[in-house]
Symmetry: C2
């Protein structure tokens, strides 16, 4: 199956599962509306697509992983809502639309993110195609990749190092956690679902390290040269916020070289695994060549 057909097929499934799930969170209607707003505000669903492509690379039925992929996308949605808050990056726009707190207010935006962080795990629990032990391993890995030693910890490192002189190693560490850890879940969750051994998981973690950095460098490049009408964000916002990025460190040309270096490292490790990973490669390509 080609990437576009695969993407359309999978996105429809993921969106259906996520939207049905959000619609059940109906105790407080404004809270549900706010969660739905951010979930449906666009987004390429890169992380769940990567997860499902990896499941296919292991020759396994992607239906075994739809709920897991959906839970990952909901966690990602939560991080966008919280990262945009005034106390964090203070962004008014995301994907060309007003951010969650600009529409629903800060309190609801905080609670929307909180709900997603908690309820998303239930999608894995409710999946009747996984064994109890697989579910527990997935929840544990997702909590690790998301929590204080994962994405959220990376966001904290980012805040602490904001407006400070930091070296490129620290920048990489921030990205490894803030951006890389949910990508790591995209690649490792399929290995858990497909009962792969630890050696494979270690290789997948290596790949996600490189792809996470490539992803972030592309983000930084787009911030400088991107077209606001495409990215939906103000160009040069990192510079205005005095944010240290790969581009401010290396300049645009060296940043592009670094991006290609990490992309190729990821591809090399992936190819040595000898999986049916054409779609995974196509998504990697999408990540580094995206224009938003």
């Amino acid at each position: 199956m080609e990437l576009s057909a695969f993407s359309n097929h999978c996105r429809a499934k993921i969106d259906q599962v996520c939207i049905d799930f959000i619609n059940q969170l109906n105790l407080a209607n404004t809270l549900k509306a706010s969660i739905l707003y951010s979930y449906t505000a666009g987004g390429k669903r890169i992380r769940p697509l990567l997860l499902l492509a990896m499941v296919q690379a292991f020759n396994e039925d992607i239906n075994k992983a739809i709920n897991t992929a959906a839970s990952l996308e909901l966690i990602h949605t939560s991080s966008l809502i919280h990262d945009d808050l005034p106390a964090m990056d203070n962004d008014d726009y995301r994907r060309g639309k007003l951010t969650n707190h600009k529409i629903y207010g800060e309190a609801t935006a905080i609670l929307a993110g909180d709900s997603l962080l908690v309820n998303s795990f239930q999608l894995i629990i409710q999946d009747d195609k996984l064994t109890p032990l697989t579910k527990l391993a997935l929840i544990d890995k997702l909590a690790n990749c998301t929590g204080a030693n994962g994405m959220i910890g990376g966001q904290q490192l980012d805040i602490e190092n904001d407006n400070q002189a930091l070296n490129i190693e620290t920048l990489k560490k921030i990205n490894l956690y803030k951006t890389g850890k949910l990508i790591e879940f995209s690649l490792v969750a399929p290995a858990i679902i497909c009962n792969q051994d630890n050696e494979i998981i270690l290789q997948l973690e290596q790949i996600s390290f490189h792809i996470g950095i490539a992803f972030q460098i592309q983000d930084d490049i787009l911030d400088v040269i991107g077209n606001k009408s495409i990215t939906g964000k103000s160009t040069n916002s990192d510079n205005k916020n005095n944010k240290v990025t790969y581009v401010s460190f290396l300049g645009i040309n060296k940043a592009k070289q670094e991006l290609i270096f990490h992309f190729e490292q990821a591809l090399n490790i992936l190819r040595r695994l000898n999986l049916h990973s054409e779609l995974v490669e196509a998504i990697f390509n999408l990540i580094i060549k995206r224009d938003k």
Copy 2:
């Protein structure tokens, strides 16, 4: 065992598990420090104590439930950090100490709460005394009681109804979720751990409904007549915030009657279950007679 001996014994165990767990969240040191600050800032550990007392009422070893009780206390800690935020209740003091965001800033306080919401579930996963199916049932129940259809949804209802004319039924609904749902977990988690049937679980949910309301009424009464040096909060803060409470609705005397009514309802249902529930009763007494 008497309540004070039981409490001291259990608190020491819960604190040890929680503090060891928090110390492992060491990617970003400020984040860890901020979580530790709020966890160790006091608190009576009522919810985990109730949970362990209920396990004992079922004649089961409390060691099977320490991790579950600890995860509940960490979720509760998260809710305190987020509820105090400027966008929420905007409180400067909690338990007589500066609130988390007053010390660590709003961004870190948001991320500290986020981490706890995510990582707490791992304490249940890591427990080697529970079967995989029990762990999944506990995580599912905890996510339900915490998320958009639980405590977090209740906080949203509270925000939406702030400063508005609302009736006492709406006030009860808010409390049922905002305060009652974590108490429900305290009582139902032991039934899950001890393999009780659904009929028992329904009774326990009824008890938690009444105790949740009693707990909240006592909170509202303390807000009016409490001593700040004991409660650690400003007296009359609800009134200053134009917050509708049981006391503003009913007046202090009828609020006290209502408290006793719900307390007795809870006791009646509990006693009909014929468990060894002396300690559970003693903790209920503690809840409605507390002075902070």
